[in-house]
Symmetry: C2
Subunit: 205 residues, 2 copies
Amino acid sequence: MHPKDANPAHPIHDLLSTRWSPYAFSGRPVETTVLCSLFEAARWAASSFNEQPWRYLVATKEDTDGYAKMLSCLVEANQTWAKSAPVLAIGVASLRFSRNDKPNKVAYHDLGLASANLTVEAGAHGLSVHQMAGIEPDEVRRVYSVPEGYEPLTALAIGYAAPAEEAPEEFRERDLSPRPRNPLDAFVFADSWGEAAVWAGRDSA
Amino acid sequence: MHPKDANPAHPIHDLLSTRWSPYAFSGRPVETTVLCSLFEAARWAASSFNEQPWRYLVATKEDTDGYAKMLSCLVEANQTWAKSAPVLAIGVASLRFSRNDKPNKVAYHDLGLASANLTVEAGAHGLSVHQMAGIEPDEVRRVYSVPEGYEPLTALAIGYAAPAEEAPEEFRERDLSPRPRNPLDAFVFADSWGEAAVWAGRDSA
């Protein structure tokens, strides 16, 4: 068992329990066919009115200039470690429904559904994904000519996890420490807010 | 192969390709231990600063009053079909970081990550999840005393899918028709907005 594996209180699928967000990636590139499968997985996520509001900008390390351009769109602290990832991506949400131009309240949510699918698929290939909210949206918008109505929201570092020793020193500890989580009864409620569902009671979490 | 299974252009994991959103559920209840695993899966999702901004209100059909209460929080069109689901849930996002009370821009996104995890786990148990944006957030807020700073965003109908014939007539067609998706090159860009990544080019999607 990897030190970063989940320690679930109830059994969950291996693809979910072994997912974690590494701060170090090996130099091994991601095969193009695998990349296709990752975004194909995102493609089949659910979305409100099947709007599919997700867009991804993607750069691989082989494309030196393209990679540097994308790396510069992350906040500096994230650049420090994310630069070891062979693939970077930026998740962008389309903010309005194409069928009626009305605001899509769940655009960010549905981008999350797609990125989670991508992450599960990555796990099935032995890859890890480290998502970040720490990006410079205005820089993304400028550098990639992102049009009005679209919002750059997240970045994803994708690759094969490397041992924690290879992470920048200031992040090494995080690559070794266990992953704390709130107990089930802190977020699964039944009759009223804050009232844990009986089956999610403290003794089981 | 089920008519609603994905028709992926690139291979993806079975748990992702067989996921779809049914309009009819069988009467079979969901075992409590399985319910625990579903929300446990949500629990281990990634989130910005490990905020875990997701909360879920959950009602099972055995609890007649609680179930009716939750059903009344869905928009009417969704009530028509969702009432066959043995379990209903409402996804709520915590809008501010607990560590500094600053707005969490990715709160909805991270709720999406959690609900996608829940959906994958459901698939592993032979269950289906049909997510909805069509809820009455003010009604949820009132009925469940949802405090300021939390936003009810989605509902989830959870159960074992039933044959399309059991769906209300107006939804039956949707339970049989294939699931259209934009091609990869419509949402995976490289150097600039709208410019498909070479490996995601039209011929492969």
